[in-house]
Assembly symmetry: C2
Homo-oligomer: 410 residues x 2
């Protein structure tokens, strides 16, 4: 593999790799309709415009009485104004008649106020008298506690933009607008192939030289978390003909293909040869640790990604680069959150590559702490109970205990 990849100094930094990959592909978003209960985390495939007024009526913002503001002028605790109660608006019903001057109407929170109502004064500022009249202990400005028709939305108002990754609050807005279904980007189908003569199924007992195939599971989960559907092709022996046939089939069936491993045939790299025989090589090698031998190819517009066989490297490459590609495929406007944490241990810079490390997070006194976890290619369970990762860019220098670091939750 070394032969084609070039020496580490010539490889693109992770940030440059993102740009190279971005420039190599363009995708057309495919849309599908889903119910609101299935819409969480999906990327909108259309702008959402209101086509009605909301609320559809002038609405009470308080449990209280609908009044003309002028009728309560000068009312205080000592000199209350008393008005006859002209009725009550029931929830879900229109008021029977307009508000007559010099009267009041009981209107609970959310009820339609009678026509003419200027303000709603809250029950707490009133008293119901034995004769059925209401005494008001405060005056009120016109417009107070009345939510006007159309003040939420009006026809044509843009509420959500194409590409928005829908959260629960967004879906609440869609429900308010009367949507029961919504057009979202179809999830790309991502084929996942594990290759390596040393691999056995998870439920098998490893013999000397063998390891369990972890990537088929972790890459599938990472793909699904990033908005794709994983199609698992299982373990393929590291024989060029066999692997070529598998990859060809996966490219035909899927929108993207991930191949983990594939460098165990000694000095040649099967994934690279396959990519070059079907399409074009976008990049081979990224100046990162772990993840250096990553390969990206373009076969008829479909990304074909060779990720390292080591599960920790494979996870990082998928979490960072495959996620970026999937985000683009579904047209999502998704930003990574910057979570700041305080390092609890020193971290030595790698002098040659940008370094990706796992961390365990803990919280105390409204501060997040990150304990860096030393992972090593052979130690799969060092991933256990990690919560985030962080990047130490090449040239960043060593990081010190107590230093602030931006972590990315797993």
């Amino acid at each position: 593999m070394q032969k084609r990849m070039g020496s580490v100094e010539t490889l693109p930094a992770p940030t440059d790799a993102v740009k190279i990959i971005d420039g190599a592909f363009s995708f057309e978003v495919q849309a599908e309709e889903v119910t609101l209960m299935d819409a969480k985390g999906r990327a909108l495939a259309e702008d959402i415009l209101a086509d009605e007024y909301l609320p559809v009526f002038n609405r009470s913002g308080m449990d209280g009485y609908s009044v003309y503001a002028a009728d309560l002028k000068g009312a205080t605790k000592e000199t209350p104004v008393t008005l006859p109660l002209a009725g009550e608006v029931l929830m879900g019903k229109a008021a029977d008649t307009p508000l007559a001057e010099g009267t009041c109407v009981y209107t609970p929170t959310g009820a339609a106020v009678p026509e003419g109502t200027e303000s709603v004064i809250m029950v707490e500022d009133t008293k119901k008298n034995d004769d059925g009249t209401i005494s008001f202990y405060k005056d009120i400005e016109a417009g107070k506690n009345v939510i006007l028709k159309g003040s939420d939305v009006f026809p044509g108002k843009k509420v959500l933009s194409q590409g928005r990754v829908l959260n629960i609050a967004d879906i609440g807005s869609l429900a308010a607008l009367g949507y029961t279904k919504v057009k979202v980007a179809k999830k790309p189908l991502v084929g996942i192939i594990s290759t390596g003569d040393e691999l056995i199924e998870i439920n098998e007992q490893p013999k000397n030289g063998q390891v369990r195939d972890i990537n088929s599971t972790t890459l599938a989960l990472a793909v699904e978390e990033a908005g794709g559907i994983a199609k698992n092709y299982g373990i393929v022996k590291d024989e060029e003909d066999k692997l070529t046939a598998f990859v060809k089939n996966a490219i035909d069936e899927c929108d993207m293909v991930l191949i983990s491993g594939g460098s165990s045939m000694g000095e040649k790299d099967a994934t690279e040869q396959i990519i070059e025989s079907f399409g074009t090589l976008v990049l081979h090698g990224i100046r990162m640790k772990p993840g250096k031998p990553t390969i990206v190819g373009n076969v008829d517009g479909k990304p074909v990604i060779g990720v390292p066989g080591n599960p920790i490297s494979a996870y990082f490459v998928t979490r960072v680069f495959v996620k970026k590609i999937l985000t683009k495929m579904i047209g999502a406007q998704a930003e990574e959150l910057f979570v700041d944490a305080i390092l609890t241990k020193n971290v030595k810079e790698n002098k040659q590559r940008s370094q990706f490390d796992f961390a365990k997070l803990s919280a105390k006194d409204w501060t997040t702490y990150a304990e860096p976890v030393k992972t090593q290619s052979g130690l799969m369970t060092s991933m256990a109970e990690c919560d985030a990762f962080f990047v130490t860019l090449l040239g960043n220098g060593d990081r010190k205990e107590g230093e602030k670091v931006t972590v990315h939750p797993l």
Copy 2:
């Protein structure tokens, strides 16, 4: 409702409400077995201990040559040491014979090293000569690049703790240990009832006085995000007998019940009456805005929660308190992340209650900015495109533009 709830000064602060609710319930975690692909986000119902050695063999950490360290003593670029190549270990296979002193064996990354191997020296520090011998340009310390049997795990080593909410890295560790299934906490079944005479189905057109039922959808999604299964009972008219029958049935069928609305019968509160007729009232009213009229009851050990009808209030109460209860029900060791953001606008303190506000997040130059969003009970679509919420505790004082605030992603 005001009658029983007491004045705002007497209500518990949100942090105290969390403690009161925590003290009122104890739960026994129910376990079920799921496959690894279904385990993400689930809380472990057992400790995970290794029952084998991993790796099961001494493993090469590099593409390179297995050697005895003493054989390379003094090797430099100028004075290389040359050794005969005794063979190659294939991936997935055991080495045929032990390493003979004064020889080397090619061992790719991840391959089993021959018995006796002390170190693996990387290909880059060697040269293959025409006669098949290998010249070494560096010496190496004993133990270098050899991952010893059992250095990842050994029988009895604890890898994951009960209550851990599994992420992809955790699941990778489970795969490494040979787990194809894992015992996790069963998802509690949460009944959701919307009540209010003003409510119509989402696909209906509101007439004067009517609003669409948003909570059946948003609360169900919030319950599922927090680890429960939502069972939707739909809209119930605000008539005590009908509501009582619905709630009774939901309590029988579910592990927890949420009732949104229920305060529109004028001055009496149906949810409170129902709770008191079947069980005991845990709290009524929280000193927060929105969310004040929240009711928590305990019916035969099951939480019955009355949340305000206003979708924004209902969401906050579910996101904060119902999530806490669900976390306890599944025995999850889950911590909220503290994400710091810079406010882009001033926020006025509420003088009477701790205040919950939505925010839109954006990222620039490795900093997260939070734009506070003014929500109002009538304006459902103000939730749209919000990304997080933040809390301004009572007594915190006004918050200023440019100030750092801890936000909680939605």
